[in-house]
């Protein structure tokens, strides 16, 4: 029997199962890496921005189906991704203006205040959408799978999410390293006073950066609707993982965030194959914090003066 190729097939499929989860985690981590890694802001409500994106997608799904136009039903998902980004970014913009900007030099206080914000948002979701989970109805072309070989079954939504993540990751890299915004962000992070003195509107840079990070979480939320149903606490499932991912990779390194998200998601997915879900999660988290105890600066930190 082809037991070896069967086992290989299982690994590939298991790999792809973990892949969608990895993509959501990666998008979240990228958003948080921008906010935490570049700005030093602890946003404990980051998970709620995922939920915002997910509910936005759900609402658009409902809208598309109630309108009934078939072109809308097929394409709403793509539109949803864009709108989810903007809705989440807009809320992020508001949050930065009302709350975050008062707390920049106080990371522990930001942590507590944003936790409070997350509770408020969760209740807002519950009051608006109800405590029960809802699901966006995915369009036809996202369902089903491709079969490169008879034993390997790759879900299409997994591939789409992966593609989306790859595009976005490159976009973020490009933006941060090449665009004018990117230069301003990096300047502000490294030397706020000097940046301000050279005419950079640091307040605006902060606000836009924060909104961008939240927007990415919103897209993660849209992607999330392909792998699970959405409830008020959907985002809170990701918050601990996302922070650990960013810290594990080395808070200021985007490459670190990617490598970290990959290793964490894949480790967990692989272990889930051999043991119960909760044990896999426990072992993964334990491994991460043990490594962090041995190397607190994360995997990709460089030696900095002082």
């Amino acid at each position: 029997m082809d037991s070896v190729s069967d086992l290989g097939a299982i690994f590939v499929m298991q790999g792809f199962n973990g892949l969608s989860n990895f993509c959501v985690l990666l998008l979240m981590a990228l958003g948080l890496a921008i906010i935490f890694g570049q700005m030093g802001v602890i946003n404990m409500a980051h998970g709620e921005f995922l939920t915002i994106g997910a509910y936005t997608t759900f609402l658009l799904s409902e809208l598309a189906h109630s309108v009934g136009a078939s072109w809308l039903i097929e394409s709403y998902f793509v539109i949803a991704i864009v709108i989810a980004f903007f809705v989440a970014a807009a809320v992020g913009f508001l949050v930065e203006y009302l709350l975050i900007r008062h707390l920049y030099a106080r990371p522990l206080d930001t942590l507590l205040a944003t936790w409070g914000l997350s509770l408020i948002l969760q209740q807002a979701f519950r009051s608006t959408f109800g405590a029960r989970e809802v699901s966006a109805t995915l369009p036809e072309w996202l369902m089903g799978s491709v079969q490169p070989t008879p034993t390997i079954d790759i879900p299409i939504n997994g591939l789409v999410v992966m593609g989306l993540t790859a595009v976005l990751t490159s976009a973020v890299f490009f933006a941060l390293l090449r665009s004018r915004w990117g230069v301003r962000v990096r300047a502000t992070t490294q030397n706020r006073v000097m940046s301000s003195a050279t005419g950079i509107n640091t307040r605006r840079v902060d606000r836009i950066t924060f909104s961008l990070g939240c927007g990415l979480a919103g897209i993660a939320g849209a992607a999330f609707t392909t792998i699970g149903s959405t409830g008020p606490t959907a985002g809170s499932l990701y918050i601990v993982d996302t922070f650990l991912t960013v810290v594990f990779g080395g808070a200021q390194s985007l490459v670190g965030a990617i490598a970290s998200a990959f290793s964490i998601a894949q480790t967990q997915a692989t272990m889930e194959f051999f043991m119960s879900g909760s044990t896999a999660k426990v072992l993964t988290l334990l491994a991460v914090i043990t490594i962090l105890m041995l190397r607190p600066q994360g995997l990709f930190a460089t030696r900095v003066r002082g």
């Binding site: 707390l103 942590l111 409070g116 509770l119 969760q122 009051s127």
Partner: protein
């Protein structure tokens, strides 16, 4: 003392009492030891007892966060470990072969039987002894805190990173407990606890006794804490919180100091957990994870993270509020507590203890002094001025 300044004994006693914050300690003692037991039903009093166990955690946070600058978002871990140790002892007592004769394997806790376990796991066995349990309650969490503390603080992991890791530890423990339901009772926890060495802890009379034991332990911790904070160690912790480098360069091992205060907070929290189990009769993972841990932080923050007494008041207030709102307006509760987090951070960072109590005390003192009987001559206008004694040779 000139005649003009003679104050009566009650006035002097009052002035002595108003020194420092002794009066608030007295007020709290009166409230907890006298007022509540006298005015509340057994049911409501048990609720207060429950809130007081949460105050243990808040007290620990005053030490490690308010004074030491170490924010731990995982104190539920230590509360829970203390609680589970006590629960294991009580459960084993309630699972004697006679009461569990209907199980497929008598003599082991019911949840183990439901999960097809056929014998007691090895690490449960020592908990048959009360002496072992009482030692384990502070020691197991203390040891865990020691390991985490040394590992983190020796490597200069502090602030936000430390907080995130404590959150992860809380998540890990709660997932672990829920996942291993055969060994831990799972998501329902360890329930149906009956007697402590034969004494039925479910009886009203027992609940009253336990309430007082709990209050006694609480005040014990408060008094020891006050002694610690008044000593050089208290000043050292504040100095470390404000200027860690300078403390290091004065020859202090900062990692060791931080670990000390983190372990102390852990042990205090675990005593609270054990008393919780005794008073409420069960322990579950819902007290171990991320949410309960951060609720305990907000209690300390509301009361005043720099004040031991504030922490107790804070725990009472936040939990009263939670019970009240969850019963009447459940939708409102999360909005309220979320806003409370934000308010504490933005508007009153020193909590209730940070309000201007000195002014309040001064005003109260002056009002009360006016009301007390006086022997001095700062009298009201209606009283005639005393006439000097007439020179008299023959008055006896």
């Amino acid at each position: 003392m000139s005649k003009n300044e003679t104050a009566s004994l009650p006035a002097r006693a009052l002035k002595e009492l108003m020194q420092g914050d002794r009066v608030y300690l007295l007020l709290l003692a009166v409230l907890i030891l006298i007022v509540f037991p006298a005015t509340l039903s057994v049911f409501r009093l048990a609720l207060v007892g429950k809130y007081l166990t949460y105050s243990f955690v808040a007290l620990g946070l005053v030490l490690c966060w308010g004074y030491g600058g170490i924010l731990s978002l995982g104190q539920g871990v230590f509360f829970g470990l203390g609680g589970y140790c006590m629960a294991m002892f009580l459960k084993l007592e309630a699972s004697d072969p006679k009461s569990t004769s209907i199980q497929s394997t008598p003599g082991i806790p019911d949840f183990m039987d439901w999960n097809q376990l056929t014998e007691l796991p090895a690490y449960w066995i020592p908990f048959k002894s009360l002496a072992f349990t009482l030692i384990a309650i502070p020691l197991v969490p203390g040891l865990l805190a020691l390991i985490i503390g040394l590992a983190m603080f020796k490597r200069r992991v502090g602030g936000v990173y430390f907080a995130i890791i404590t959150q992860a530890v809380a998540a890990i423990l709660s997932i672990l407990i829920i996942g291993q339901q055969g060994y831990t009772g799972g998501v329902n926890g360890i329930t149906d606890l009956k007697t402590l060495l034969g004494w039925d802890i479910r009886e009203d009379s027992a609940k009253l006794v336990l309430y007082y034991v709990n209050a006694g332990l609480l005040f014990g911790v408060v008094l020891i804490g006050r002694h610690l904070l008044a000593s050089k160690l208290g000043r050292l912790l504040m100095a470390m919180r404000d200027r860690e480098d300078r403390v290091r360069f004065s020859g202090y091992d900062v990692a060791q100091l931080k670990t000390f205060v983190f372990v102390a907070a852990a042990m205090i929290s675990s005593i609270g957990g054990a008393m919780f189990t005794l008073q409420v009769g069960f322990m579950s993972p819902s007290f171990v994870g991320i949410e309960p841990s951060i609720e305990m932080v907000i209690a300390a923050a509301v009361g005043g993270r720099g004040s031991l007494l504030g922490a107790v008041y804070g725990a009472l207030i936040v939990n009263f509020g939670k019970t009240f709102f969850s019963e009447r307006f459940p939708e409102l509760w999360l909005f309220l507590i979320g806003s409370l987090f934000i308010a504490v951070v933005m508007v009153f960072p020193n909590g209730l203890a940070g309000l201007d109590w000195a002014a309040l005390k001064r005003r109260t003192l002056s009002v009360v002094q006016k009301l007390l009987p006086k022997r001095g001559h700062e009298s009201s206008a209606s009283e005639p001025a005393p006439t000097p004694a007439a020179p008299n040779g023959g008055r006896s």
